[in-house]
């Protein structure tokens, strides 16, 4: 067969593509279980840390996660932990960031008067810029952040890093150089707080 002939080219392309895609499918299938376990573990860890429940090993995550109740209110799935003095609630959230969907967990006390913590489960923000929403310094700002009039505020633009952050006033620092991501987080979290207030506020 002529190497530059149409038939050879088509057959060759088909075989090569088939072979490599087949190998990829195999690799994907082979690791699917591990990837899924990783994701499930990451999700459980995110819920626990958002609720400020400390854990050390993966085993502990498993046992602690079992102590969390899953409650459904108004068709929304909430996680409830009654271990502390007061019950706290957590909810999964997702909203659009700059490049893609940001998903995570936000945890609040039962009056929605302060945030217990947030965790980011997945995002596609720019690594090193918006991607820093998953960094501890950013997330730690939300530990015990007071909710003022049902809202919080994340600074962005020239405001970010200007020292305006204040836990009592419900103001957290945005990320310098990632205004759009900071803005998105502000919108997403305020939306979630509004919804949580509606769900939890009505029941007591």
């Amino acid at each position: 067969m002529k190497k530059d002939g149409i038939l050879y080219t088509v057959v060759f392309s088909f075989i090569v593509t088939f072979l490599f895609v087949f190998l990829l499918a195999l690799a994907n299938e082979g690791t699917a279980g591990i990837v899924q376990r990783n994701q499930e573990l990451a999700r459980q860890k995110a819920i626990l840390s958002a609720m400020a429940i400390p854990f050390r090993t993966d085993q502990e995550v498993n046992t602690l996660y079992k102590s969390i109740e899953i409650v459904k209110k108004d068709g929304v799935q909430l996680y409830k932990s009654s271990q502390g003095e007061k019950a706290i609630f957590a909810k999964e959230f997702s909203g659009s960031g700059l490049w893609g969907t940001i998903t995570g967990i936000v945890s609040v006390d039962s009056e929605v008067s302060q945030i217990i913590g947030i965790q980011i489960v997945s995002h596609n923000e720019t690594p090193g810029l918006g991607g820093r929403i998953a960094d501890p310094w950013f997330k730690d700002q939300f530990r015990g952040l007071k909710v003022k009039n049902g809202k919080i505020h994340i600074t962005f633009g020239a405001e970010a890093g200007s020292g305006k952050a204040n836990k009592e006033e419900g103001v957290a620092d945005g990320i310098t150089g990632a205004s759009r991501t900071s803005q998105s987080m502000d919108t997403i979290l305020n939306g979630e707080l509004g919804m949580l207030k509606k769900i939890l506020g009505g029941s007591r």
């Binding site: 530059d4 060759f12 990837v35 995002h123 690594p127």
Partner: protein, 201 residues
């Protein structure tokens, strides 16, 4: 192919024909991913792995690849290795995979890979091609690590995430953002060119 030839290839790729300094390839990722050393290291390792193995595979197959579709086949092979890297990271290093986000997939578009496949692997035996891909990757890696070192140190006051700078040190926001990589690449280019030509450009 002798040891001398291999040494020549590595000298070329690491310095005299460095992908960043001379070929000016792979600049997009240089701008985007070099503000943290850890991310830079993992990404450049991914590029090195892909460059080495895609070169090896292409050099093995080159006799059978019809000329008309050779570039498509090269891209196919490169994507294959990049997706393998992505799958491995997701399964075994989920944290890193998360922090690199879309950049792993974008290795496919790194011009160094196509450049080496077309310029070297297409016309050389498998082993030198593998070596060429590997050293090209390292040539790219060391330049990016230098840039990342400066950017992370001045931008965050840390190295590999470990705080280094004293607390009074003002963090340079510009170093965190992409434009600073332009300045740093330009300065490095200038220094490197100057050294190579001995000041008479």
């Amino acid at each position: 192919m002798t040891a001398k030839d291999l040494k020549k290839i590595s000298r070329e790729n690491l310095w005299f024909n460095n992908p960043i300094f001379i070929q000016i390839l792979g600049i997009c990722s240089t701008l985007a991913v070099t503000n943290l050393l850890t991310n830079t290291l993992i990404m450049t390792l991914g590029v090195t792995f892909t460059a080495a193995f895609s070169n090896l595979t292409i050099a093995f197959m080159k006799e059978w690849i019809p000329r008309k579709v050779r570039m498509i086949v090269q891209v196919l092979i490169i994507s294959f290795y990049v997706i393998i890297v992505d799958i491995l990271l997701r399964a075994f290093l989920p944290e890193i995979s998360k922090s690199l986000g879309p950049y792993v997939g974008l290795i496919i578009t790194n011009c160094i890979l196509m450049g080496r496949a077309e310029a070297f692997a297409q016309s050389n035996p498998p082993l030198p091609a593998f070596w060429d891909g590997l050293t090209s990757g390292f040539g790219y890696m060391w330049v990016l690590m230098v840039i990342a070192f400066v950017r992370e140190l001045l931008g965050f006051g840390t190295l590999f995430g470990i705080p280094i700078a004293p607390s009074w040190f003002p963090q340079w926001t510009i170093m965190v953002m992409a434009p600073s990589a332009f300045f740093l690449v330009a300065i490095l280019l200038w220094i490197a060119k100057n050294r190579m030509t001995g000041g008479k450009a």
